[in-house]
């Protein structure tokens, strides 16, 4: 799926908190009897999660990540798209046409 021109929204049924500089996300509608619906993001992932406000596409997120983490734009875009695919696969975000 080409994600570059899509708009992303967080799944509304989630709770996230920051612990030890890492974002922890729990999908609340999923059963809590397994750990599979708990997610931990590293510092870059946590920042991307912060930036996901549902209004913009991937462009402004990539630009911010480039600036804050001193990463080349191409690399940032590839990593962000890969990260979004993971988020989508796990039901943490949904995607719509831009």
């Amino acid at each position: 799926m080409n994600l570059a021109n899509r708009r992303f929204c967080k799944n509304p049924d989630h709770i996230s908190r920051v612990v030890d500089n890492q974002a922890i996300i729990v999908l609340t509608k999923a059963t809590l009897s397994t750990t599979e619906k708990f997610f931990v993001l590293n510092d870059t992932g946590s920042r991307v999660w912060d930036l996901l406000d549902g209004r913009g596409g991937i462009g402004h997120i990539v630009r911010t990540i480039c600036k804050e983490f001193d990463i080349a734009e191409k690399k940032a875009e590839e990593d962000t798209l890969e990260f979004f695919e993971e988020l989508l696969k796990n039901g943490l975000i949904s995607v719509s046409d831009n």
């Binding site: 612990v19 609340t28 509608k29 809590l32 009897s33």
Partner: protein, 283 residues
């Protein structure tokens, strides 16, 4: 009738003498005149079974799900169902047959009261807790992990006060993290393991252990994030809303920040208490 449990007033309404009798027996000593936080309306009535399309949690005893925008709690064998409104102010309970009477006497109230406790940022954790010479130890784990065993060993060999051996209430106040006896969840079977004066009360918490049987006693420190996940997994939730899970999260962030957490492999004899008291770093 209005009852008060854990300083929370609830209005129980029914036109059925059988249900009334169950409530009188269970809560006759807890009558209140306060303003109710929640109204429970119950009656014997047949009901349409939900479609089971949006099941949130299914356990041996009940199913929590969503149907037509409302959450429901369906009791085993479909003998009773409780429908909740969005604001968690009214609950309608329909009982199909006499098996469902236990539902109204125990399960519904238990789930609802836990929901109200959660709103006050009090968690109910599947755990046992003991106090030994002003030190509080909390043992968390699933059924069969040894919660009662370790509490019984503490009472026998370490002169412990057992706060509860299955479900502990956890809350934070000015003095730190505390564990409290849980009156809401009465012990469903008698506990010959404990004398009456060994059970009850409260304590601050000085260490949290996640239980695992082992060949020898060994406590391995646990980092914050896995500790939070485990605490949430072993907590009892009512409606599993964002707010409810968020309240747990906030409480457990404080727990793991303030209290050392361990994975504990243990041998079920008195050596475990010698080990804990000598080898484990406390708050």
């Amino acid at each position: 009738m209005r009852i008060k449990l854990d300083n929370m007033c609830i209005s129980l309404n029914t036109g059925d003498p059988k249900i009334r009798k169950v409530w009188d027996k269970a809560f006759g000593g807890c009558i209140s005149t306060d303003t109710p936080l929640l109204h429970i309306n119950a009656g014997f009535r047949d009901f349409a079974e939900p479609s089971h399309k949006n099941v949130i949690v299914r356990t041996r005893g009940h199913e929590l799900g969503l149907e037509n925008g409302r959450k429901y709690l369906l009791y085993k064998n479909n003998s009773a169902i409780a429908w909740f409104d969005a604001e968690f102010k009214n609950v309608d309970v329909y009982i199909r047959d006499s098996k469902g009477t236990a539902f109204i006497g125990h399960i519904v109230l238990y789930m609802i009261l836990l929901g109200l406790l959660n709103q006050r940022k009090i968690a109910c954790l599947h755990s046992s807790g003991v106090r030994i010479r002003k030190r509080g130890f909390l043992f968390v784990g699933p059924s069969g992990s040894g919660k009662t065993t370790i509490a019984r060993l503490a009472a026998k060999y370490a002169d412990a006060k057992v706060i509860h051996d299955d479900h502990i209430k956890i809350k934070k106040n000015g003095r730190g993290i505390e564990m409290h006896h849980n009156r809401i969840i009465q012990q469903r079977r008698r506990r010959p393991e404990f004398r009456q004066d060994e059970l009850g009360g409260k304590s601050k918490v000085d260490a949290v252990f996640f239980l695992d049987r082992g060949e020898r006693n060994l406590a391995v420190p646990l980092k914050s994030i896995p500790a939070i996940f485990k605490l949430i997994r072993f907590s009892t939730l009512t409606l599993i809303t964002n707010r409810e899970v968020g309240n747990l999260f906030d409480l457990y962030k404080d727990v793991v920040r303030e209290i050392p957490c361990y994975n504990l492999k243990f041998v079920p004899d008195r050596s475990v208490w010698d080990y804990i008291q000598k080898e484990v770093r406390l708050r």
